[in-house]
Symmetry: C2
Subunit: 85 residues, 2 copies
């Protein structure tokens, strides 16, 4: 055991980031979107959600709905994984 958090950024292997709260998820989304050179509008269009939702998601809104979150992540080529703490 003891496989998690070996890296300073909290990631498991430098490519993955734990998501303990919506704020961290938002940061992760924003980073990836920018890395991909997309605007919030672009991402919203691809993911099939509203622009405002992308903005709120990136800003860590806690009450975003799971399906919309998954849609955005998928549009960015990201996935969620459940891990034991």
């Amino acid at each position: 055991m003891m496989n998690a958090k070996k890296f300073p950024d909290g990631s498991i292997d430098g490519l993955h980031n734990t998501v303990l709260d919506s704020g961290q998820l938002g940061n992760r989304v924003r980073d990836k979107r920018r890395k991909d050179g997309l605007t919030q509008q672009d991402l919203a269009a691809v993911a099939g959600v509203g622009v405002r939702f992308v903005s709120e998601l990136e800003n860590g809104k806690p009450t975003v709905q799971l399906n919309a979150v998954l849609a955005v992540l998928a549009a960015l080529g990201l996935q969620l994984v459940v891990v034991e703490k």
Copy 2:
């Protein structure tokens, strides 16, 4: 790169499971809850959500809210990780 998906089940280290949709998340939650010997009521109380929410979450309701999901996962000692697909 090439650090992800070393295991057949898509997990990072054989202990983790990817969550592509809410249905899989629900299964993960139910499995863990039962393994811990908790009722939905117990889990709901610990997580600070309603019993109905736990039921719906376990049944894969797509539109559950993220904060409530995270609360339930935390109560089960589980975490979410964002990974590149």
